[in-house]
Structure formats: structure tokens, C-alpha cells
């Protein structure tokens, strides 16, 4: 079983729910180690004291903060705990909001909350049930690993999930980027309508299983080939983008013609398949839109 990253309680009014926090995601990336080229030996990173050139064990390392006058203040984990004793052990629920009000720009990392014991499990279930029936998510703050997090808590299946969020001053304003866009380069109404038509043609219910990380598999294949002693050919040089403005209208119309052509081809196979079927949001999420319904 995975290791818990934090334990404490979720506090909801005067109700305390002791919980343990686990990561809801794991890193599936392909990782490389640093090696010393001449002898192929692994490289180790050692922490060395700049003063006496000796290796320093973990328990002799403090968190240093440089003051304006150049002096350093050294803090221990206990000092940091003392900065916010309650927040380091309690997630205080401050309010309940509608999920759709939270812009995804605030979201950071998902975790799973698990009740710490049997009696906590009842209060835990109660909190989940109350949020489910009121269709709201909880907002609170807590400190984990010397960092305060704004968090949202929502029920998912049998568990409560916690998502760390960014504080408002950690989200940059978009105004500078908006101002950099050329106001004179205005698209025509026809272009926009065609783009909307393409969006509608390519619309599906969100189904995350449709998207696999193929890059990971490619990289593993490259490693295998190299292991067998095969030569890895350099990728073809990147084709430079055309230095002229692209023909937007041409690309839009050609895209629509192709997408609609494909859809029509599929529809011809399924006698009763209707194009509108993709608009039916109640359709099972895993099914591909249009044409996948075979004739009976």
C-alpha cells in the first residue's frame, strides 16, 4: 500500500475527521539516471559543507533564509511547525462552493483522503454524503511540507478527494498577453463560423481512456533498440513553418469537407445512425460518436 504523505484531520464545524492523505496520481514517466561516461558508473549527488568540504548527513541540514543584511537564519522543521501549529495538522473547511465556480487555472494536484480509523469513517462518510446531496465542494487551507495550500475537497466514488489549489496571487494576470495580440488582425465572421462548425463536428463526450501516452511507449522502444545495439537515427530536421500567413479560409473549408466526408462515409454504413446522436449527452461516454452504432 502506498505511503501516506500527511496525517491530520479535516475539521468541519466542530466535527473532526482524522484522515490520512495519499497521492491520487503516480509518476509513470520514463526516468534516466546520471552516469559517468568514461566508466558507466552511476553518479551520486553528495551534500558537502562549503566550509569544511565534508559530506553532511541529512540531520545536519537546516532550512536557511537570507536576511536583507546578508545574515542567514536557520530554521528546523519544528520552527516551521510552530509558525502554524493548527494548520499543520488540520484542514479547516471554511466554505462550500459550487464546483463549476472554481476555474481550472487554480487546480494543482489531486490527493485521496482516507479515514484514519473506524469512528472517523462514520464522520468521513457523513461529510461525503452532505456534499453529495448539496452538490457542493468544500474549500479549506492547510500546511503540508512547509507550504500552505488552498484545497478543495469533493466526494468521488466512496472516497473524498482533495485537490491542492493555487492562491489568487499565484495566478498571473492575462492582460499583458491580451494586449500583445494584434487588434488589426481581425478574423472574418465566416472564418469564425467555419471554425465553430469544425468544433461541433469534432465534439465528443470527454473520455480520458481515448488518450494514451504514446510518447512513453516510443521512448521505451528507442531504449530497447539501443540496448540491442541498433543505431538510433537522428530525427528529421524540423520543417520550418511557412513564413507567410497561412490561408485560414482554405484550411477551414478543406477541414470541414474532409470531416463531413468521413462522417458521411460512416453514416452510409450504418443505416439508422443519425448525426444528431453525438449531441445526445447521455450517450455512454466510451462510445465513439456518430456511425459507431451498427445496424441490428
Amino acid at each position: 500500500m502506498a505511503r501516506s504523505l500527511w496525517s491530520g484531520s479535516v475539521s468541519f464545524g466542530l466535527v473532526n475527521v482524522p484522515v490520512q492523505l495519499y497521492s491520487a496520481v503516480r509518476d509513470r514517466g520514463v526516468h534516466f539516471k546520471q552516469l559517468h561516461e568514461p566508466d558507466g558508473s552511476p553518479i551520486e549527488t553528495r551534500r558537502v559543507c562549503a566550509h569544511d568540504e565534508k559530506e553532511v548527513p541529512w540531520d545536519e541540514i537546516a532550512k536557511g533564509y537570507e536576511l536583507d543584511d546578508g545574515r542567514w537564519v536557520l530554521l528546523s522543521d519544528a520552527d516551521l511547525d510552530a509558525a502554524a501549529p493548527r494548520k499543520s495538522h488540520t484542514i479547516d473547511i471554511e466554505s462550500f462552493v459550487e464546483e463549476r465556480e472554481i476555474d481550472p487555472i487554480f487546480l494543482e494536484r489531486p490527493y485521496l483522503l482516507v479515514p484514519a480509523n473506524e469512528s472517523a469513517a462514520r464522520a468521513y462518510a457523513l461529510l461525503g454524503e452532505a456534499m453529495r446531496s448539496s452538490e457542493k465542494v468544500a474549500l479549506g487551507r492547510f500546511v503540508m511540507r512547509a507550504k500552505e495550500h488552498l484545497v478543495s475537497i469533493r466526494p468521488r466514488g466512496d472516497l473524498l478527494t482533495l485537490t491542492t489549489m493555487r492562491f489568487h496571487d499565484e495566478v498571473r494576470a492575462s492582460a499583458e498577453i491580451a494586449e500583445s495580440i494584434d487588434a488589426a488582425a481581425e478574423p472574418t465572421r465566416e472564418q469564425i463560423e467555419n471554425a465553430v462548425a469544425i468544433i461541433e463536428e469534432l465534439e465528443v463526450p470527454f473520455d480520458p481512456t481515448l488518450y494514451r501516452d504514446e510518447h512513453r511507449a516510443h521512448l521505451q522502444r528507442v531504449i530497447k533498440r539501443k540496448q540491442k545495439g541498433q543505431k538510433i537515427a537522428a530525427p528529421p530536421p524540423r520543417s520550418r513553418p511557412t513564413p507567410t500567413a497561412p490561408d485560414l479560409m482554405g484550411a477551414l473549408q478543406e477541414s470541414l469537407a474532409r470531416i463531413r466526408g468521413e462522417a458521411a462515409g460512416k453514416q452510409a454504413e450504418g443505416a439508422t445512425a443519425k448525426k444528431q446522436s453525438k449531441k445526445a449527452r447521455s450517450a455512454p461516454p466510451a462510445s465513439r460518436p456518430s456511425g459507431s452504432r451498427a445496424k441490428h
Binding site: 473532526n16 503516480r26 534516466f32 546520471q34 559517468h36 566508466d39 553518479i43 553528495r46 558537502v48 562549503a50 569544511d52 545536519e60 537546516a62 536557511g64 510552530a82 509558525a83 502554524a84 466554505s95 462550500f96 481550472p104 487546480l107 494536484r109 485521496l112 469513517a121 462518510a125 454524503e129 446531496s133 466514488g157 478527494t161 485537490t163 493555487r166 492562491f167 499565484e170 498571473r172 492575462s174 498577453i177 478574423p187 465553430v196 468544433i199 465534439e203 470527454f206 480520458p208 488518450y211 504514446e214 510518447h215 516510443h218 528507442v222 531504449i223 540496448q227 538510433i232 537515427a233 537522428a234 528529421p236 513564413p243 507567410t244 497561412p246 484550411a251 477551414l252 478543406e254 477541414s255
Partner: protein, 284 residues
């Protein structure tokens, strides 16, 4: 304008939109440096060859993938880049979805897009079309030798891009041991808890949630700089055993008193100011 991290092209259908990627977020966490407790000296990270037990220069370091214990396959930067493929500079938008169908757990990092060279018209067209359709583009792209699932959506004035997690990155609930409650909550408990949820209902106003820990840490740093001792925190009273319903009722009463001035106890409606604010502003 924040500098761009990546230049490339959004592709949907045969339409190409040249874009630049900028981070939409920045960390405001106080950062510390490692120092040696005994003499306060800086800690340096040294790259040491395990076999020779000596420091090695960066120019002699290569990347190896461990295929079995202590057996590595060395890959050059160029060989690693082969996996990126020819489409490495393209954000290939495959589908469009309703944003609310995406579980928030998928979102990873947020970026703003700005138009790339000669791309202003195409950018504004995509922005207008996303906005009008109310849909979010879903695609994939390779960034820093890693593929990302992405959502492309229109904000009020710019296009945002979110990297998202792939479905196989999620930990299954079954991997965790979850204790079942000794007793299911009663209907009365659920109803009372729901009243409390309603009492604490607000609209999401990000600036009502300040990071106060930053200031608390700076305060500890100041005190420590003056030579004050930092007291160990008192251990908190842990959970209230049993008595769930009475705790809920007491909470309702406590919050009810605090909220009376903020208006009725009705669930929040979009027009009203969030309670949290009216409460902190007192009777103003």
C-alpha cells in the same frame, strides 16, 4: 509579458494556429537554501562517480536508463528526442468537449497562449470560436521530452492551455485500505450536516483566501533572527469521539450566531455577497 516557454502550432482539422506558451502561474512560497546546522555554511551538491569516489564535471555526465539492476542503456539527448517524433512542435487537438465533463483531478499546470509569428488572425479566430461554442479542445503535445494531454480553452481575453494527466497515472481506490464506518450515518445526521453545508455556502472568491502561512513563517524568521526561542507547538486535541450529532448541532448554533447579520440562512444565490466576507467586514 512573461517570457515564452515553448513555440509551436495548434492543429485542428487542417487549420494551423502558431502559438507561444507562457506560464499562467508562479509560486509565492518562501524558498529556503540548505545550510549546515553546525557552522551555518552553505551546502553544495557535488556530482560524484560512485566507482571512483571523486567529483566529476558535468561534461562527463550522460543519461542512462536502468534496464536491469546496475545495467544501463546510455542515450544521448538526440536519441531521446527521437521519441518526440516529427510532430513535436504541434499541439494536435483531436476533439472538443464540454469543460464541466472533465474531472478536476485531470488538470495539472496552467499556461496562457499568445499568438506566434503571423498567427494573430488565426489565434483570434480560434479564441472566438472556442468562446462561441463553449467547448474545450482536447489534444496532446510533447514538451520537455514528455507527452501531455492538454485542454485548450478560451478565457475572456486569451486562450489558456492546461496540461492534464493521462488516465493511467491515477492511483486506484482499490490500492488503498479504507476502513468502513462502524455504523452508517443516520438520516438525521446527514440532514443536520447538510444544514451546516448550507450555512457555510459561499461563492468562490479566490482573494478571500490569503496565504497567511507565508507571513507566519516570515514572523518566525524575524523572531529567530532576534535570537528568540521558538516554542514547540502544543499538541492539538484530536477528534471528538462519537457524539457526531451533538457536534453538528453545536456547529450549526455557533455558525448561526455568526451569520445572522449576513442575511437569511437560505442557500447562496449568485447575486449575494459571500458570507465569509460580510462576516469579516462586521456590521459595516
Amino acid at each position: 509579458m512573461p517570457r515564452s516557454l515553448w513555440n509551436g502550432t495548434i492543429a485542428f482539422g487542417l487549420v494551423r494556429v502558431p502559438v507561444k506558451l507562457h506560464s499562467a502561474t508562479e509560486s509565492k512560497t518562501i524558498s529556503f537554501r540548505e545550510r549546515h546546522v553546525t557552522d551555518g555554511a552553505a551546502i553544495e551538491h557535488r556530482r560524484v562517480c560512485v566507482k571512483e569516489d571523486r567529483e566529476v564535471p558535468f561534461s562527463e555526465v550522460v543519461k542512462g536508463f536502468e534496464v536491469s539492476s546496475d545495467s544501463y542503456v546510455v542515450l544521448s539527448k538526440e536519441e531521446i528526442a527521437v521519441a518526440d517524433g516529427a510532430e513535436a512542435h504541434i499541439i494536435d487537438v483531436e476533439h472538443f468537449v464540454l469543460g464541466e465533463e472533465i474531472d478536476p483531478a485531470y488538470y495539472e499546470r496552467a499556461y496562457y497562449l499568445s499568438p506566434g509569428r503571423l498567427g494573430d488572425e488565426a489565434y483570434r479566430m480560434l479564441h472566438a470560436a472556442l468562446k462561441r461554442s463553449g467547448r474545450v479542445g482536447i489534444g496532446r503535445f510533447v514538451f520537455h521530452n514528455k507527452a501531455h494531454l492538454v485542454a485548450v480553452r478560451a478565457l475572456e481575453d486569451v486562450i489558456a492551455l492546461h496540461t492534464m494527466r493521462f488516465v493511467d497515472e491515477f492511483v486506484s481506490e482499490r490500492e488503498l485500505e479504507v476502513v468502513a464506518p462502524d455504523k452508517e450515518p443516520t438520516k438525521l445526521e446527514v440532514d443536520t450536516a447538510q444544514l451546516l453545508v448550507d450555512q457555510l455556502a459561499a461563492s468562490f472568491e479566490p482573494d478571500t483566501y490569503e496565504n497567511t502561512y507565508r507571513d507566519a513563517v516570515l514572523n518566525v524568521i524575524e523572531r529567530k533572527a532576534r535570537g528568540e526561542a521558538i516554542d514547540a507547538p502544543q499538541s492539538e486535541q484530536s477528534s471528538k469521539e462519537g457524539e457526531l450529532l451533538s457536534a453538528l448541532r453545536a456547529s450549526l448554533e455557533e455558525h448561526g450566531r455568526g451569520h445572522r447579520r449576513a442575511g437569511s440562512g437560505a442557500p447562496h444565490s449568485s447575486g449575494t455577497a459571500p458570507r465569509k466576507r460580510s462576516r469579516t467586514r462586521g456590521g459595516a
